[in-house]
């Protein structure tokens, strides 16, 4: 393992927006997504590792970000007294700041099951083909295509239901 040979700034600049968007779609708050993004890259600082390519970098970061967000959600779910239903983002005067209010479509994305979120980021933000996504996530291309199709159906149902 080539410790100390990687530049954290280079990796950070290349992938920070993708990592942040993925974290945001999981955590639903810009503050939490920022914390998660920093924590993820901090792991690379504390435990440097070498990558074969930028694609390898991105794939590692996507999987690591997903795992980190799931850990955050699990620990948050355990520590909170509120019921799970109350965690679904709803407009509230007690929300942190109004400017962070996610758009309707982003709220719908946040409510999707976790397995769709990394696929959506890679397809819609990174403009990756399903075969590429399959390679990055280690899943069959047919699974990725099915997840995209299912996610579209769920999002249409959410948005078509007139929820605000």
């Amino acid at each position: 393992m080539a410790r100390g040979t990687i530049s954290i700034e280079g990796i950070y600049r290349r992938h920070v927006q993708t990592v942040y968007r993925l974290c945001y779609s999981y955590l639903g708050s810009s503050a939490e997504a920022e914390d998660a993004t920093q924590a993820l890259f901090m792991k690379l600082v504390e435990h440097p590792r070498s990558f074969e390519s930028e694609e390898h970098e991105k794939a590692w970061l996507i999987v690591a970000a997903k795992n980190h967000c799931l850990d955050v959600l699990k620990s948050a779910a355990r520590s909170r007294v509120v019921a799970l239903d109350e965690r679904v983002p709803e407009p509230s005067v007690e929300d942190e700041v109004f400017k962070d209010e996610p758009s309707e479509i982003m709220q719908a994305i946040m409510r999707l099951p976790e397995k769709y979120k990394d696929v959506l980021v890679l397809f819609y933000y990174e403009n990756r083909q399903t075969d590429e996504i399959a390679g990055m996530l280690g899943s069959p291309p047919s699974t990725i295509r099915n997840r995209l199709a299912d996610a579209r159906v769920l999002l249409k149902k959410e948005l078509g239901g007139g929820r605000t």
Binding site: G4, V16, Y20, S25, V45, N67, Y124
Partner: protein
């Protein structure tokens, strides 16, 4: 809503969910500070390691009991030596009727034992402390090799794993030491790793396919 309209909305949603430039720079500053700190402390650790080498690798930890055992044996020997000296001194004292001599002998023996036991005791504690400090972080960044040759880098402690004993574990080895461990591949492509006798689970990521 058509598929095209939905696609466009999703793309817009991701495009607008952007990390602000201020936050981006702030995080980068924190990372660079941590990187500088890491490089500085790494150099310091290298320097210290030349003076006082301590067990840090997992393979060496298996032999970490030797130093405390030797230290304990020497302590026992020193204690017994003190008792023997005290006894012989007492006999001498009784024979010549000199209580002051008895005290002097026992005091000398006691001091000798004490002066020996202090550094030995400290060494033993140091080894224990190093051993405790080394776990579990010492396996972080170690590479685990599966039987099929795939290599995984241990990156973190895995938390919130429900019922690990219900998983199907397979044998694996630590690349640097050849030490055994157990691993189980998860659906997300990561791997859980555990070591015999430890409750801690680690998460590992594949290095090459």
């Amino acid at each position: 809503m058509t598929d095209e309209q939905l696609d466009e909305q999703i793309r817009d949603a991701y495009a607008s969910a952007e990390l602000s430039p201020e936050a981006e720079e702030r995080i980068l500053a924190n990372l660079l500070a941590a990187e500088a700190s890491r490089d500085g402390s790494a150099r310091a650790e290298e320097h210290e390691a030349k003076i006082v080498p301590l067990p840090s690798k997992r393979g060496r930890r298996r032999h970490a009991w030797i130093a405390p055992a030797i230290a304990a044996s020497l302590l026992v020997a020193a204690f017994l030596g003190t008792r023997i000296m005290f006894s012989s001194g007492a006999r001498d004292a009784a024979s010549v009727g000199n209580d002051a001599a008895e005290y002097a002998v026992s005091g000398e023996g006691g001091n000798a034992a004490e002066s020996e036991s202090v550094p030995l005791d400290m060494k033993s504690e140091d080894v224990d402390a190093a051993d405790q400090d080394a776990a579990p972080q010492d396996v972080i960044a170690e590479v685990v090799v599966l039987e099929d040759g795939r290599r995984f880098s241990i990156e973190d402690v895995a938390v919130d794993v429900d019922n690990p004993d219900g998983l199907v574990w397979e044998g694996a080895v630590i690349e640097s030491t050849g030490g055994p461990c157990e691993a189980v591949l998860l659906e997300d492509g990561t791997m859980l790793v555990r070591f015999e006798g430890e409750d801690v689970l680690y998460r590992a990521f594949e290095l090459s396919r």
